[in-house]
Symmetry: D2
């Protein structure tokens, strides 16, 4: 069959001085950084949905991309054509992983039976494509938000039959992910939230969501899936408010249902900023709570209040995120998935390559800069020095639970403590980082 990207062979690393827009300038898969290759550090993935299921439409206008496989026709034929193009793309991009929703790869059909059959057939296709190209599955997931039946939620739906329908999709998607060697399984609850509190029972919906997640855990262990279960936080959109608001909220939810050791978070940059946090904050918070899992790499627009899902390009921001990840030991099963889409005007098919080549190069730049931050140690040293008091006798006694309010009040008074503030050195630290970033 004819190739869709027929002007391109494999994207190669050509180094920073290359003038070839369709080459990597910084992403050099096999380059060693702090003892691991770039590929091992970054564990990059491209997604099925934005790249191959979206035609460039937005709320105010029709699609601009004209992808042939998104036109009318026999759904299974089109799904296979889509898979051909997707794997052609993954392969030529030399990206090691991909990610998908069940309904990205297979037509939903008109009944649960058709769904099951279509999906099973397409999982065979994916398995074969993976074998042919060497592309691996970073994670699979099920879409419980696009079909009208999920208008009022999936697991949190007022109708238990919708819950059952959703459970059926997750059953098949998790099984498929297991079979395809997926390294993680993601749950993003796009409609697990509310439109108005007036018709919503928050406690009831939370209970449903808790039970649903427990069932996912039980099923994972039953089938022997060794990958990581991931919840992807988002504060709102499409709902007015989504239950998995941010990492801290997800942590409380996991604790409530006793599954905090079974799930980790898949942090998306644009979801972080929509929640009022920096991307850096969400990653650092998840790490500090022991629930960091994976990243949906993209960026939002600082002036726009919706999910713009642009390709990541702030090396300043990515470097700090990468630093946190390196400091925490790096990814285990997670990785950087480009949950990013082209701008609606980027309608040239090769723009898909520009977006991803840029994203991969920017993450590679950030990795190299972050490695310098690790090596230079001034950040780690400054932090260690700032908290050194907690290694003193007083600090240790407090932390070990030896002190009470009363004993501390007595101590403070008897010793006439009068601690003085010291500089936090923020400007100096910011300067040091820029000296690493820019030459």
């Amino acid at each position: 069959m004819a190739q869709f990207f027929d002007q391109i062979d494999k994207i190669a690393f050509e180094g920073p001085d290359s003038q070839n827009p369709l080459a990597f300038k910084h992403y050099n898969a096999d380059e060693l950084i702090l003892g691991k290759t770039m590929a091992q550090h970054l564990r990059l993935a491209a997604c099925y949905w934005h790249n191959f299921c979206w035609n460039g439409q937005d709320v105010f206008g029709a699609g601009t991309f004209g992808r042939p496989w998104l036109k009318t026709g026999d759904p299974m034929v089109l799904a296979k054509q889509k898979a051909d193009v997707a794997f052609e793309f993954f392969h030529k991009l030399t990206i090691p992983y991909y990610c998908f929703h069940d309904v990205d790869v297979a037509p939903e059909g008109n009944s649960i039976k058709e769904y099951v059959n279509n999906f099973a057939e397409m999982v065979d296709v994916l398995e074969q494509k993976q074998a042919e190209t060497g592309t691996k599955l970073l994670w699979g997931t099920a879409n419980l938000f696009s079909n009208p039946r999920y208008a009022a939620g999936g697991a949190s739906n007022p109708d238990p039959e919708v819950f059952s329908y959703g459970a059926t999709q997750v059953f098949h998607a998790l099984n498929a992910t297991h079979r395809l060697g997926g390294e993680n399984y993601v749950l993003w609850g796009g409609r697990e939230g509310y439109e108005t509190l007036l018709n919503t029972d928050l406690r009831q919906e939370r209970e449903q969501l808790g039970r649903f997640m427990q069932m996912v855990v039980e099923h994972k262990h039953k089938i022997g899936f060794k990958g990581t279960l991931l919840i992807e936080p988002k504060p709102q959109e499409p709902t007015k408010h989504q239950y998995d608001y941010d990492s801290a909220t997800v942590y409380g939810f996991l604790k409530q249902y006793g599954i905090e050791n079974e799930f980790r978070v898949n942090i998306e940059a644009n979801h972080a900023t929509l929640a009022g946090h920096s991307f850096h904050h969400e990653v650092a918070t998840a790490i500090s709570l022991g629930i960091f899992g994976s990243i949906d790499a993209n960026r939002g627009d600082a002036q726009n209040g919706w999910d713009t899902d642009q390709f990541p390009n702030s090396v300043e921001e990515l470097t700090l995120v990468m630093y946190e990840i390196l400091k925490a030991g790096g990814f285990t099963t997670g990785g950087f998935n480009f949950d990013a889409k082209l701008r609606r005007q980027s309608l040239d098919r090769y723009d898909l390559f520009h977006g991803h080549i840029g994203g991969m190069d920017h993450l590679a730049m950030a990795l190299k800069k972050a490695a310098v931050l690790i090596e230079k140690e001034f950040l780690a040293d400054t932090v260690a020095n700032r908290y050194r008091g907690w290694n003193s006798a007083l600090g240790k006694a407090i932390q070990s639970g030896e002190h009470s309010l009363q004993s501390l009040a007595a101590l403070t008074l008897s010793q006439e403590l009068d601690p003085q503030p010291v500089s936090g050195r923020q400007e100096w630290l910011e300067n040091q980082i820029n000296l690493v970033l820019y030459r």
Copy 2:
């Protein structure tokens, strides 16, 4: 001593047709609503800080109010003058409760000894004032954010001596609250957060905060304080990011340190909106998590990104909040504290009365409207009806844990489930509420 508000006697209820700006039109303390008096429902409090410690200054300009007790002079004399005016105000306003920080009522002094002595002396004054006026203490708290020693936090400070100093303040403030018959004790961590992640160890600071809160719990039980411990969430300001971001975040924190049955939240309207939530959301969320405690009644400005702390005046919003509280059984030890300040231009001393009379009337209006919502039952009925499926055999089986992903997948397929969405009736519900609000 001469009275400060010498043009005013006690504020009286005169009913909706009164033309007297210094009378209540809706707040009628003894009026029965759903079996309790307005006073019992609302449990209103005025605060010490905005009313008597703030002189109208902001970041861009000097104070405009010219309060005599905020001028230079002997600190203890001024503190007693301040107490005179404060209790004159509480009494004339007929507001049953007040709230304070330790350093609102007593001068900090130049050492921990002076702090302890000054505070002890002023607690005696407060006790006498309470006895004279009948004003009761809704809650006390300690200020661990204004003094430069707390620039990098109180409990989360990198210096354990600052932690000790803060513990000393809380020790004395909790004891004082206990002695003064306070019904709650509040912890607001204005500086418990970070300015930059570059110099911050999130995990370390969280551990410090966790231990601090455990110590507060231990001390409460030791002294036999029967009131409620409250954490007041706020997302940022003065810090870039505060750890008690919102109710859901506080819930996760409490679960982590095993103190979720020992603390409840004190929700402030303006903090809710700064966190990206509606006030209604925060109250409903806290109730659904079983941690709802008390309210700091105010409002923010929808176009300004800082804490404007205006007096609450949206009866539309307050009615929905009140409805949630009534539905949940009402306050136990909590109440509505006006954590609200005058506009800087409202420099007439009687503007303090206008702000509070309005706030009290608006809450009374909201209470009356919310009682109608309770009585009319259409909200409760609509919600019950919407989730009725969860009382079906399938719904009960799922909730009781009888189903797995696999059994639900089998059931969905065998029964060929095809659940259809139904209208959420949002516009109809909104219309019904406005018909209650407006005649």
Copy 3:
């Protein structure tokens, strides 16, 4: 032909005590308020697009409404079916006006010729429908943002052929509006903005937009259209930044191209809030600049950063807006158009009535409350009193240009001026308004 809303006859006014959800409780078209009927004051309109062209889809999911005329079929047959339902709706709702885009009412076709022919044929249909039902046209407009050709803008497109295509649409849409007796013509530049400054020439695009608007003015006069030309401000979405950001920005644009007496603004509540302003602010600003024209009545969600276009239901907000409009003398050719859409879950066809009945009732409530504010005069009196100094000799001399910096400096020094601040009475004013709103 069978009626779509076959369970409904005309919506009637039944008064505040009616229990009929499909009746007006407050909107009583012929009721006199300050000497005009409600209908004359409000000049209400329903829109074609949200009600009859949108199927309930959003960025994350498929349509939920299942409207028959939005399914596949012969485009002109479906367009006529749509018109039947639209006018059935307008008529049964008893709303006096409607609004449309060219491509709402007629299929775009596959060429400019088909566009012209289809539109001409549908304008005949609309003319007949208007005659049959008595529904009038508040305004028409042309859609220069949905078709892929407008991805980079209409008038501000880098390609002058796109400019020409857009001019052709406006030519036909303005002619049609004139013929159908439309009282205004609107220009909303949804794609007149930029996605990235990197590829944008701001000055060039502004010049194009300026010339385009001048052409619209010239054509209006040429054909003798007596209605008002309106620009509808919006800050962003679908673009990252739109040139018609808000009323103040539009004013500067109109001044630059010398057309400030030819255009007025059509203010949308949700666009105001997306621009960082209150709805009240935008209306008051446009009035103060002499460019207030008409209103797109809806509301946004205070926590969501995109255009939610909900039905207006804050009577608190609407009352202040209505007060400004009444104070300014009321609408001339403008009116309140419900640029509001159902929630995606509101999929019952009668939800369209609930949305509009609520909106009409809420505006009627606001009108009645605003009339009381006008009659009570305390707002006008307070403002007049606050600025009374400008009627003094000094105030008049300054305003008439008699003073210079130097003469004022001399006067201030010689008279030793020491003006003191006075209370702005904000809390008192807010209380007074709530006493009018709530009984």
Copy 4:
């Protein structure tokens, strides 16, 4: 007199490899870039207010810096001590310019007479300091927002005596700026806005502001001041809404009062973002409107909704801003003034150097990167190519006014125009910029 920064001599350029935190790594004043020195391009200034008038206090806490000249004492003695330290700082920093408000440098006193005398005496001091150190004045301004008399505004105050008082300050501040060789004079209307629309007459206040600005223009010409008059936009804070919201709003205001050729804008990065714009946007917009003047260099916090005034450190952002300025021909009388303040925790006196050294280095990095963007020409070429159609016969005819809606409609139809969208190449452009930024 003893020096305040006694550990420091002059800051020197030591190049990127220097390990000295108190040296420049990139700012090399005499280095030639595109034919001008860095110093000529950047025209850097430090400000008086944040550095020498602010003690580290915020709304929630007391000052942390302990500057000796901000303690109690004789105001004129302290003012001279402050001037000593300020010019010691400017000189050691080797920054060529400074900026001040009247009341930064001289005590306000208790009457207009004292103000005039104090200011006159301090202007003498400044003149001498400038001569001694060689530091020049980028701009002066008057503070019409901090004193309680300005609580309701300066020029827009309801009291014409306040207007007169403000005019007196501007008279003296503009005269002083002229005498001191200032290259610009700035008007920032921090209180020229409203707290509530309820007590505000927008049209009246706008007229007052218009007349005030005209008087400033008249006085400038009268005294022969050759510098530029600058208005500094800000959307809100301290007011709820400020009239000089953003550059586009200021443009409309200037056009209304016929002074668009007399004023330019002083754009502050943090004010831009508070107004919902990117810094880049505000600069590009002002340039496109012909009113670009100068820059207040700082940055806000993307998650905080108030003016954080941090030192600028995003070289990514600064490079694009610098590119726009270079493309437009560079500054004339304007420059980069660091309207930036230390974090409250940065209480070491040498943190003032870290903040400014970083800011200067970051602007130098941005200048070098922007020069590469100019030299590489791919941005300019891409834009020129994108709009090339406007050089066609059709494009020129439209722009020259030869076409009407009717003639374009006829042309479009007769030629059956069917323009197709082309890629905007956004991702490719973004990649190219990062290849320039990072090596």
